[in-house]
Symmetry: C2
Subunit: 213 residues, 2 copies
């Protein structure tokens, strides 16, 4: 962690743009290595890994060249206590190598995301692992709740219905919306779509904590 700064909060930056770009670049290389280790075997492994390590080394030799004209998608920010907070979200953060990442393309009454899943998300051949369908839907429904309900809410229950497999290697759409607000309870639902067809559906319940007296 960087050392605590004594400058006023509005004159500090949590991290330079170049460092944020480097971190997101490294997360991207990790994604490529993760996928490549599952499609590369035997004598092909060493040259594959040498190429990927070469990309990282080149970035490290001149990290500032990497940042030229680039903007980090999820740079660190200061939290309410003035500490550096990194966007760790494992579904949407560009800095998290296990996040595909899923991208928010529309927000409002309905939230819409798009995502393309590489090989490391595979369950059945060329199809998304069922648990990771739940990952995409949980995140999307939570976002719809967060956008449409003012109180902070926690997931109480989530149900996924599997209708057809979600394909890897092509863009899929994830939709989510709030269906009912009843006091501290919020109900939401959503779908994963590929080629215009629903692959999975979700519905769930979010509850906001009782206000302190």
């Amino acid at each position: 962690m960087a050392e605590a700064s004594t400058a006023p909060p509005d004159q500090r930056v949590p991290e330079s743009i170049q460092h944020s770009v480097l971190a997101e670049f490294a997360a991207g290389v990790c994604r490529d290595i993760a996928g490549g280790l599952l499609s590369t075997t035997g004598d092909d492994l060493v040259p594959f890994l040498e190429r990927e390590v070469g990309r990282l080394r080149q970035a490290l030799e001149d990290p500032f060249a990497l940042g030229e004209g680039s903007e980090p998608r999820h740079p660190p920010v200061f939290d309410r206590r003035g500490r550096i907070a990194v966007a760790t979200n494992p579904v949407v953060s560009h800095r998290n190598a296990i996040a595909p990442p899923m991208k928010l393309v529309r927000s409002g009454d309905e939230c819409e995301f798009t995502v393309e899943l590489p090989l490391q998300y595979q369950g059945p051949p060329s199809k998304l692992h069922g648990g990771y369908s739940a990952v995409l839907l949980d995140e999307a429904l939570w976002k719809a709740v967060r956008v449409n309900v003012s109180a902070i809410s926690f997931t109480r229950e989530l149900t996924i219905g599997y209708e057809r497999p979600v394909p890897l290697f092509e863009p899929v759409t994830v939709l989510a919306r709030v269906t009912e607000v009843d006091g501290r309870k919020t109900f939401a639902e959503g779908e994963i779509l590929a080629g215009g067809e629903v692959c999975s559906r979700a519905h769930g319940l979010w509850i906001s904590p009782r206000p302190r007296e």
Copy 2:
């Protein structure tokens, strides 16, 4: 991919032990980079990444030293058509960098797994992202169905109940068992436990395809 071999299947190996160990080592470094990018900021990023790249380079310079005395956990195998098949499972495969990986410690009427989740799985501070609770439970319940029901089954529905957050950075237990078999339908349930307390519960329905006439 390695070139097709003309040797009889039982005289072929999909990959040397050393290569399999290298692939699993590289997946492990990817896990460490994924976590480190979320806890390292600013000027600390370059030295952190240099150390990790150094570990990969050292392994690549002498991949056979890496394999001495090691056994790969998930080496490739030949599938029924004689093709090389890599264990891609994104929850349990040591070769998959997005798998924690979760380890099966007991199989039978009840299946038991153990897993320790690092920072890249974070939702709320120091707690597991809710979608990834579903990942662990989906995989565990599917395993219980697979061990206890002879027909191949596909997930039709999965419900997760969230009772308390799952902690990161400590071993947690995932349990799963079949509760009912009704023709082509199999029902299963399970829990994630930490410190002896249930954090999440799951129940679901798996269906095996109608036999061909």
